[in-house]
Symmetry: D2
Subunit: 347 residues, 4 copies
């Protein structure tokens, strides 16, 4: 018998939610105009406008990197820069895609808990050299919500950072690859998390929460929307049969499906993290606010995990555990037990 592997690598190792698979099937009927000019996409558009409590323009895509690249390109000037946290996904894990799509420079702005800090942003803007032609000119602030380390900006933080950015003419882009997890954790509405806090453009990911390569670029400023179809095409991001992404996204937000899944994933991580953190020598690298846990473990615990039936990523000395909504309780228990035992703690 093959030993089961409990998979903590990422939430995108999961399959597709049955409800979304059904939506795919339902959309497979008759012909439809390609490239997003179809009724499924229009229905999705309406659904998003309901969700966000205002008219929004939405573009279906299949990768988050593509959505981020197009979003930033829609804002870019030819000699510009995007301010972001040094650990931002766009700065570290997209192999230069934002630079390719925009021609811009990414400039790191520090801050605690892997978030752009208010003071740090103010200082960066003060020394950015606006109007000095030897300096790149900032045009956008990127906020990854949740961050790549699973931390969250509060609504107040988002508002303050957006105001600072807007005051200097920058637009605000939110990278919401785990948007549902953020909404679930903060207990706010989608509108509150975004445009009501000053967000101009949102990359909203559904893939990590049960969709089949379904991402959306949500535009809160209509004036920005006109250029996006061109930028998508130029970036190879226009889907021939866009209806199959749109139909998923429409269904995703048709009821509480998206929230329930994200809440479950967050809950799984919170429970596991709490137990692990109670062990001696186990250190949380970042506060656990959504479904991601970053740990530093004593060597013997790490060694035990490596030889156990667990799949997870290591980042330098740390390990990352990501929980899905359907993370096996047995897997979580066994992982905890494995670390506990290695550390010589009695159960």
């Amino acid at each position: 018998m093959i030993q089961p592997v409990y998979d903590f690598r990422s939430d995108n190792v999961a399959g597709v939610a049955p409800e979304l698979m059904e939506a795919l099937q339902a959309a497979n009927l008759g012909t439809a105009a390609p490239y997003g000019d179809d009724d499924y996409t229009r229905a999705m558009q309406r659904r998003f406008s309901e969700l966000f409590e205002r008219p929004v323009t939405v573009f279906p895509m299949s990768t988050g990197t593509g959505a981020n690249g197009v979003a930033l390109a829609a804002l870019a000037s030819a000699y510009g820069s995007v301010l972001c946290h040094p650990t931002a996904h766009i700065n570290v894990y997209e192999c230069g895609a934002p630079e390719l799509f925009t021609g811009a420079k990414l400039v790191g702005v520090g801050g605690g808990d892997f978030k752009v800090g208010e003071k740090e942003l103010a200082a960066a803007l003060a020394s950015a050299g606006f109007g000095n032609p030897t300096r790149v000119q900032p045009f956008a602030l990127n906020l990854t919500q949740p961050t790549d380390f699973g931390t969250l900006y509060s609504l107040q933080e988002l508002r303050t950072l957006s105001e600072l950015a807007h005051a200097r003419g920058l637009r605000v882009h939110m990278d919401g690859a785990r948007f549902a997890n953020a909404v679930a954790a903060l207990g706010c509405s989608a509108a509150e998390l975004t445009w009501r806090c000053g967000v101009d453009l949102l990359s909203l990911g559904a893939t990590k929460n049960g969709a089949l390569n379904a991402e959306a670029l949500v535009v809160f400023d209509e004036a920005l929307a006109a250029r996006i179809p061109y930028l998508m095409k130029r970036g190879g991001q226009v889907l021939s049969k866009a209806r199959f992404v749109s139909a998923q996204l429409e269904r995703y937000f048709a009821d509480e499906l998206w929230l329930r899944r994200a809440q479950a994933a967050n809950r799984n991580a919170a429970g596991l993290a709490e137990r692990l953190a109670s062990l001696p020598g186990v250190e949380l690298v970042a506060p656990v606010q959504v479904n991601m846990i970053f740990l530093r473990l004593p060597q013997r615990a790490l060694a035990a995990l490596r030889s156990g039936p667990f799949a997870f990523y290591e980042l330098g000395e740390d390990i990352r555990l990501v929980c899905r909504d359907d993370q096996e309780p047995e897997g979580m228990s066994r992982l905890y037990d494995c670390v506990r035992a290695a550390l010589g703690v009695r159960s």
Copy 2:
């Protein structure tokens, strides 16, 4: 009762083949590593190696423009050019994506029937200014097979053009958005149509032949493969849940499904074109070799079509009719009758 619309706009207005929908379902089981490092992708890789009768490296993507962009980027030098027919898809309908992905210049090389001509290619290479630093240096020849006007390069033409290109150090990229239709029409093997004719890289589309946003970049020269994952990421082309594209592609080539569908589509177009071309004043703009028909019609016939229950694209003075494998016979008959009647020809 709503009058049905017979849809001749494109083959990508179709839904997804039932067999491929089943493959999607079957792949929705358990967790899998993201970004193409999964068993479905490995199985697809093996399937392609069988099909092409040699080891190939295959990368699953969701758009043809993305696959083309990455393919050309894998060949690009920093001050280079891609030779292609002026009407090539990459030159006209990708909104500058090849230029973005490569940084290169696209240089048109003429030829009859919308194909790069042998003489024209020889002349372009002779006057390209190799070694002259004021001139961009050609690094690739793009051949769209079938062309955007539905014409086909013969195997002999492909061989000759590839030899000319290789002799000057260029690599050969085939844009095969309708690859199955080309193989079906030429009655050759996939191997014969590609690397046996000198093709180095192939963008192979399955979407227009029944897949759900499933395209593949097929690499026949292993040395080129190493850079492609980076170029894909940088272009926002790496799918989080790649298995759902790979599973389709594996199934697509598992039996004659792909060929049968393409043959049917080609046959539909051939039959319709033959009937239409027999009418007085109806002119074929290009020979009908796959599933696309380009017509110039007398004004009264065009007017009749426009007011009939037909959907199709107009390109300047011409119209384009594309047939799917499941094009409704009734729709084809009614379209023919509509033109015939408008031209005053008795049935």
Copy 3:
């Protein structure tokens, strides 16, 4: 004794006009702010405003390719195209610089005598696909005046082409590497040749007419000027000691120096061309309107020239002869005699 070589390769093989060398010396006094924020540059600015009979903004640079790149970048949109003649300098001899500076695609528009034709431009605009996101969107029309084949747009042609371009939202860029030769040949004013004909931006070259790497980007629309210092810096085009270019340009237009030199160069070419064209079998490839002669010669005449004391460029089967203002009369006579004798014509 070494046989002298009569140099017909280009007008940029010449040295520097004594008047401009003196201006360089005169500017070598005291300190001055770098990067163009100096009194010499301001004086040059005033001189250009006089010359063009209106306020203009002028940026000193050292290469024409740089000036062209920056000019087009100032107009560029992210998914745009520049319309130009297929033989335009920017399309053939700048190794992709315009594409690098702009990210845009260059799209060829045909026409006789190496000039963009009115009908051809109208057709290109009609089929450009404005508003279609699969197509690059034209933002500029480039007019090379004189063309790389030494032909000239008439003022009427410039007006018509500019109107067509402006009507579709394109801006007009004139590449005037041999601006003085054009003004001299047309007998018009600098204003008449440019903004009065609808030109929005001018790359004005002085180097080919006696300056030491002195070029200017002249902006007729103030709204465009603000972005240019950034685009120059980003393109490595901002000169540390800009005053030494500005001082030359100020002197260049301080009196008739620029015109006298250009008139002399044009006259030399006209005389030589007339004599050569009178010989049997000698064919002018393009009308000789400035200081450039393009000839197709019988093989024996070509062979004779090659073995004579002449330096010139060959372009495929043609040869190019460019005359400077101080072209040696003896050299021109000997060149004519060489061809004449080879063709067996008595003197």
Copy 4:
């Protein structure tokens, strides 16, 4: 009488050294092939090979930003990064030119005294994610020598950093805008400072030390040289009358001129800095190793300087004073006295 302004803004506010002006005049004789294919450029090439004690390939240009951009472009891969100090000139003061020329990302690597540190470089390389396609792949290490804050890498530091870089396949680019000042300060040879320490490519500036917009790209690895003419053209960096830059550079290194000037400038700065630093409350922001002084002054001293006959730049709270070889002794004394008096120190 106008009060004289003592100019401490930069060394590029200076004019042109008389010896170099003479070299310009001497080069203004007869015709010469354009674009660097001339005898002056060949002589310069030989002179540099002598200076560097080995064959080198040298390309004359007119801006340091251009030389840096081309140098890095010669090394670039399509999904690459350049490691440099966060304060590096290429990272801060070139308005994105390196990114434009290379398509690469600049990644900051910290270290004391504005220099890349050995430990920091080792850590950056260890966590760079070589072989991970989500991460940009480093291809070059940029070392600014002297740094923009006037500090110097020792030969030992250069060797160590180069070895670390080479061991991971990176090439080493030195930005030597003030190359002469560095050689003068370190008392080493040009060879010792560069290729003997592992430098692969050098941007060598002469403009800040008395030349008229004369910079050179010096290539120590012949295999890199072949692509550079194309990259220069594409970047608008090829000078039409290159001989006038080459003639200056040849003369610059023909005797000790370059060193004498740099030594004098360094000496001026050292003397002034020593006196200023002796005053209470005056803080040197960086060690003064070449001709640049960075100071933090008490407010009253700063106010006094601002209202005195002095020109200088302010960077946030600091001021920068740069000394030329011919900095007026009176100006330096008056500046010192001004600060001293403001601080209430008796002379």
